[in-house]
Symmetry: C2
Subunit: 332 residues, 2 copies
Amino acid sequence: MKEGINMKIHPIWNDYPEINNQLLKVDQVIQSHIRIKDKKVRAIINDVVDSGGKLLRPAYALLCSQIGPEQDEDKALAIAAALETLHIATLIHDDVIDQADRRRGKATLNNLFDNKFAIYAGDYLFSVCFSILSEYASSLSHIAYHSRSMEKILSGELEQLHSRFQPPKSVKNYLSRISGKTAQLFALSCYVGAVESKASKQERRRAWNMGHYIGMAYQITDDILDYQGDDEKMGKPVMMDAEQGIYTLPLIYAMQHDPERVSAILNQKQELSSHELDQLMVCIENAQGIEQAQSLAHRYTNKALQQLAKLPDGDYKNTLHQLTNQLLKRTT
Amino acid sequence: MKEGINMKIHPIWNDYPEINNQLLKVDQVIQSHIRIKDKKVRAIINDVVDSGGKLLRPAYALLCSQIGPEQDEDKALAIAAALETLHIATLIHDDVIDQADRRRGKATLNNLFDNKFAIYAGDYLFSVCFSILSEYASSLSHIAYHSRSMEKILSGELEQLHSRFQPPKSVKNYLSRISGKTAQLFALSCYVGAVESKASKQERRRAWNMGHYIGMAYQITDDILDYQGDDEKMGKPVMMDAEQGIYTLPLIYAMQHDPERVSAILNQKQELSSHELDQLMVCIENAQGIEQAQSLAHRYTNKALQQLAKLPDGDYKNTLHQLTNQLLKRTT
């Protein structure tokens, strides 16, 4: 296995030296599967992989691989690597689709090169994900979970795109959307970790549910931070969602509270001015949109912790507890 | 298994009723794996799948699944379906990348909807490919072949894109390019067909080589037809490759024959006029570019037939022989 290149693990793991160490190994697994002859092109893909994401999905998979009685670190690392590779591939295509210029404070591939390069780079990483799985997974059914989850995420995206002139304006629609997009991959991560450790059926189901709730809380928190964080911290422009006409939870609450005023701001043809963004923020404040969203994220976190409480005891459990609470309170 | 929808098998199979029948079943396998709730979106994806391609890759896989002693039609059909799904996914992304408006005489997804929809639709079909494989393939190593082949195709594309300001101007570069892009998937198709029938190692290798040579001949012939066919027959504008600055074999021969004149035409900043395209055609004629390319396609076909001759006897062998010769002489 080759050495990881320039890899810096996200500071979120500073307090978890063991996971930090494992995530470095996950990175090495991914890097060792980037088999591109051209050195420059390989360096570009290496860079995307090491672009400083939180590595939450592989971390949850690794933690959940301690639920069952069987421990095979190499296998757990590979599964975690496949999950992160899948995640990065979807991010690259999301950035093309959203025409995003920056992610995690760095220029996106579509910005640095062009959409063509970014599309094939995403496709390439999808294939790397399945290569890793086919090398390390313990059964075909494991790959079936991955591909079915990927299918589910993508069919959700397709349906969403097709109805994009009616963006989700109800809380229910919003939740169903993030359930397909983010929660699916968190659920899968926890589930496959549990499966590889030969956890019981009930434990696997609990791991799945826990992952789902964590993903829901995570995405809601992410969407709140779009209204709260500053540009530098988040690595992406604040209120970008609203500017792009993406209706996330705080905005949906504002819409429900004062539909006329919010619609009047959003239905303009031209880009929103900074004055209009300020007005939108006032509407969200009037509706207590942030507080309501925070409270929902809190409820999902509690549901996740309830599932966790029923899993077999072990050190991993305390870590999962601490980590899941920490995610809720994060500011970046 | 659901009924295929509006499926018309390409007329190339009129003389092969058995394959024609099997390809209808392949279509049903793919369609039954398009699990999208929204009816309109599902109909769009169904349509792309049934858009009248030649289904060569699944046909070769099915024929090669008769090389070995084991015959499992359901499995062979599924493998064939996965290969076609992978092929369609790559075509969808290729069309986004080439900004193609039409394929097979029909509007492309990126044209009908937009790039966003087309990118996710391609991703969706990648995941469907792996879902089918994980359901039917007989081993993890089978999936490894698929993902490694996909990796190889895509890393080739990435390298190609990264050097797109130096398009391949030598025959060697051109061959290496089509070897990655087209021949890899033909080789894989023949190989996995052979593997599933439990063919011997030597037979598998021969199937791989045969597929590789068939793919080379196929792509060269395709590139020749871009200079010969008329728009209606090919379902894409003639000389589109040259217009887009894609250096295929006839043009490379012309370039070698009269570099100054060809460069002068191609190095203009604006789009080529119909007069300039005519001039280019004259250069290709002077270089006997079409004839030289045809002769090379012929040599690859013969190499394929040499590999075929060494495979175990059976009806499939005559069909493969006839089909491979027919592809060389096709006019669409």
